[in-house]
């Protein structure tokens, strides 16, 4: 139970940070809900063709990635407004799920109740499922770490990403697909409704206290881990409260407290700055453009100058 929460929390901390800064929270909501169509489709296939291995999670991943690719396709955003696309896929995905579940034969395949699918139950997650979750989470997090700088550029300034040689369409497709897989995995822990909370809230809390994206991601993972564990413990303590709902409420309360703390800190900072006006004025250019060009042209500065400035690290990620 806690291992599954751990995997979900780490994934949400990493992917949620990019989702929040790129302002695609509702796109994630759309993808998360549309995966319901895949779950229904998997039940239907299981009941008709008797393919036992075609688990609801596989159906959800297939539909989730398909929806993500549709949303990321530039031709779609050219013809329709982004929020309209989200609304359409959200509704259509859920409708497909409901229809397929209605068509599935419950005497052939065990179909979870809508409540179990929508609200999840981490208490019922099997060890096998946790291993699958961990493997898929690794498959997402490894490329995110490798592409961290490019994802940072993409989520900050898409035009700059394009002129810098980043394949924006491909990168968006990757990010949205990662969001889709995250949604499916987390859905198993806290349910489709609570996916939004776990993706959005830890990252939103982390941003309030972070200077950079790296810090945001690390803090979001920590917040996500601590608070989702706290939510689970409270849920176990109060036997009648479902874990998904408890985790979401704990996260929401934490966000409210964080906003108050952040506001108080900002007031203190501005008071201090009022007493000690900051630096960073207009002048103070210590390197002239002409000397820079003379020293090595556009694309090659002297290594000596770098080694003086370098703190010894090979590079920066």
């Amino acid at each position: 139970m806690f291992l599954a929460t751990f995997v979900a929390a780490v994934l949400c901390g990493v992917i949620g940070s990019f989702v929040v800064v790129k302002r695609i929270v509702f796109m994630s909501g759309g993808i998360a809900h549309a995966t319901f169509g895949g779950i229904g489709f998997a039940y239907f296939i299981q009941s008709i063709v008797l393919i036992g291995w075609f688990a609801p999670m596989i159906g959800a991943v297939i539909v989730g990635i398909s929806v993500a690719l549709i949303m990321a396709h530039p031709a779609v955003s050219r013809k329709l407004r982004e929020d309209s696309v989200i609304g359409v896929l959200w509704a259509a995905g859920m409708a497909i799920g409901v229809i397929f579940i209605a068509l599935s034969d419950p005497s052939v395949v065990y179909i979870k109740s809508y409540e179990a699918i929508l609200f999840g139950n981490v208490l019922l997650v099997s060890t096998e499922m946790v291993i699958i979750m961990a493997a898929m989470a690794l498959m997402i997090i490894a490329p995110v770490i490798y592409l961290y700088r490019d994802l940072q550029i993409l989520t900050f300034d898409e035009s700059h990403a394009r002129t810098s040689g980043i394949n924006v369409t491909l990168m968006n497709a990757f990010l949205y697909s990662a969001v889709a897989v995250t949604c499916v995995l987390v859905m198993n822990v806290v349910g489709v409704i609570m996916v939004m909370a776990l993706i959005t809230i830890p990252a939103s809390i982390a941003i309030l206290f972070s200077k950079g994206m790296k810090e945001t991601i690390i803090l979001a993972v920590i917040v996500s881990l601590v608070l989702s564990s706290a939510g689970l413990i409270l849920s176990v303590h109060w036997d009648r409260i479902p874990p998904g709902a408890m985790v979401a409420i704990v996260l929401t309360l934490a966000l409210v407290i964080s906003l108050i703390v952040s506001r108080m800190r900002d007031k203190d900072t501005s008071r201090e700055q009022g007493q000690h006006p900051g630096t960073g004025g207009a002048d103070g250019t210590s390197v002239s453009w002409a000397s820079r060009r003379a020293n090595g042209g556009a694309h090659g500065n002297s290594a000596d100058a770098q080694s003086e400035k370098s703190d010894g690290s090979e590079g920066s990620i």
């Binding site: 700088r149 900050f156 300034d157 700059h160 960073g280 453009w289 500065n301 100058a305 400035k309």
Partner: protein, 269 residues
């Protein structure tokens, strides 16, 4: 062998869908040139920049950057977009924004090399923001943010610098600071700048272009009567002096897209 001109634009038309933001625009940018582009909002200025950078495909005509198409040549351009087009609440330090300028040379490597980091440091020195390098961008003033964007564009050592309203909503001191930096850079970099700051044109700018669906270029840093006549959507006294107040009432706002879809196309032109 003579290298091709930094920028050659021939009979260029571009826009959004069937609506052209500008048509049949031709001009070039010479070595160490400083071309200011003025014109009303909706006149196509920002769209022209995006077309030159390859962000928008032209409907017809061509763009050549040092003799190559924009997809290739845009690597030699440093672009400073409008400040308002960003989410300034993004959790990122000044250093990381400036390092973004080195992405083209970094490629798919996950880390920046020492040389790339050093070039970013130099760009921060040139623009006077080294002491702000660890600050979060949401803590900066408008002038500081502008210099961060300028540093990002300068970091890879571009041969052309394109600026979209670099002094918009800056106070006179900060405007002067930006112009001081540009004057220094213009010693060996060709600059093309969109501006509404008519007052600063005489000091550093070498040529002026006025864009309002079509472009008129003057080889001197002066606004010609023809430029005013193609439809200036600003108070006429800004261009022709106080005595002309009221003279431009008839010009209305004829600029921009004929189909009336100029709003929402982009933030400016």
């Amino acid at each position: 062998m003579n290298e091709a001109l930094p920028l050659e634009v021939k009979d260029l038309s571009a826009g959004y869908g069937r609506c052209m933001a500008f048509e049949a625009v031709s001009f070039d940018l010479r070595e160490k040139d400083f071309l200011a582009i003025i014109g009303p909002n909706g006149g196509g200025k920002t769209t022209l920049f995006k077309t030159i950078l390859g962000l928008i495909s032209p409907a017809c005509g061509s763009v050549s950057v040092f003799g190559t198409p924009p997809s290739e040549g845009s690597r030699r351009i440093g672009y400073v977009p409008q400040r308002g087009t960003f989410d300034w609440m993004y959790p990122i330090s000044v250093r990381d924004v400036v390092l973004m300028g080195m992405r083209a040379s970094k490629g798919l490597r996950p880390v920046y090399s020492r040389e790339e980091m050093s070039m970013a440091e130099d760009a921060m020195d040139i623009t006077g923001i080294s002491d702000l390098s660890e600050r979060k961008i949401s803590d900066l003033s408008g002038g500081q943010l502008q210099r961060v964007l300028l540093a990002r564009a300068l970091a890879p050592g571009p041969d052309i610098l394109m600026l979209d309203e670099p002094t918009a909503s800056l106070d006179p001191m900060m405007t002067g600071c930006v112009h001081d930096i540009l004057r220094e850079i213009n010693r060996d970099v060709a600059i093309i700048m969109i501006t509404h700051d008519i007052g600063s044109i005489g000091r550093d700018v070498k040529r002026i272009g006025c864009l309002n669906r079509r472009m008129i270029i003057s080889d001197a840093p002066k606004i010609t009567p023809e430029m005013v006549s193609i439809g200036f959507c600003c108070p006429p006294e800004m261009i022709l002096g106080p005595s002309s107040a009221g003279a431009g009432k008839s010009c209305g706002c004829s600029g921009g897209c004929k189909c009336g879809a100029s709003s929402g196309r982009d933030s400016d032109g």
